[in-house]
Symmetry: C2
Subunit: 162 residues, 2 copies
């Protein structure tokens, strides 16, 4: 019997080919149709033991979100062994930059042509005001190395969860 | 002697308290002042063995970027054991949504008031055109569960790197 009361094992125990007990830390988070498949990725990327330790250190109410975020990272790393989910962060950062430039351009247009004499398409053709806008969404323009010094990750003291 | 020719060990070998040899897969990627500190996070989150296997499966020219992205993920998970770097993806996605809504609002304003009779601040006060704009940047409004079905990560066959 699993912790959930069913006679079948959770996805983690199915993958690890072991008996699922009431003490299984993975049961609540890998009991779904793709559970074993997702856990396979989690085990390959993080290791079942590391993930078990991480979950056990967290309050019960946070474990579900943690299991999902870990599964997400693991599957991203399986799909893209070089960048994993960092590829998505870089792409989103570039998208934010492009959108911010678009807003800046729109507000410049509104300030430049407050009474609407010029249409926006004509305004966009004005070279000097348009110089900062990237011509395309180029992932490779961003260096992943830049991210290692981001204050978001390195300013605060590291949490101890192991 | 390390692979880099210096007499000191690389950050990984310093952390693992082992002799650094020419065959050490980590030397080129953890030989910097914070190398041992970053490797400690990598080892705790992913396990040295898993990361070694991942790097060995990659072409040499991709290993540096992979080591950086793995360090980044590991440090993010140490800082935020529940969400890790997924927190950044969720925050960036919300920022993109807000910026897209801002652009939509600016273009609506330009269409609504083509000859500039109304200033933008007054336009923003018009409730029905402004209804979709979120009042604040609320991280918890996005459910991480939604991401598990994203085509980006799950549509393509998984790469085999172990």
């Amino acid at each position: 019997m699993t912790a959930s009361g069913s006679s079948s094992s959770c996805g983690a125990c199915k993958f690890l080919r072991r008996k699922c007990t009431n003490e299984c830390v993975f049961t609540p988070y890998f009991c779904y149709s793709q559970g074993a498949h997702h856990f396979a990725a989690v085990h390959k990327v993080f290791g079942a033991s590391n993930v078990s330790k991480l979950l056990m250190k967290l309050p019960l109410q946070n474990r579900s979100e943690a299991a999902i975020s870990i599964s997400y990272e693991a599957l991203a790393r399986m799909e893209d062994p070089i960048y994993g989910c960092i590829a998505q962060i870089l792409a989103l950062e570039q998208q934010v930059t492009i959108l911010q430039e678009e807003i800046e351009q729109l507000t410049s247009y509104m300030a430049y042509d407050p009474i609407g004499l010029l249409n926006y398409e004509s305004f966009q053709e004005i070279g000097d005001l348009n110089a900062g806008l990237p011509s395309s969404f180029q992932f490779n323009n961003t260096s992943i190395s830049d991210h290692l010094n981001q204050p978001l990750l390195f300013a605060a003291p590291h949490a101890s969860f192991f």
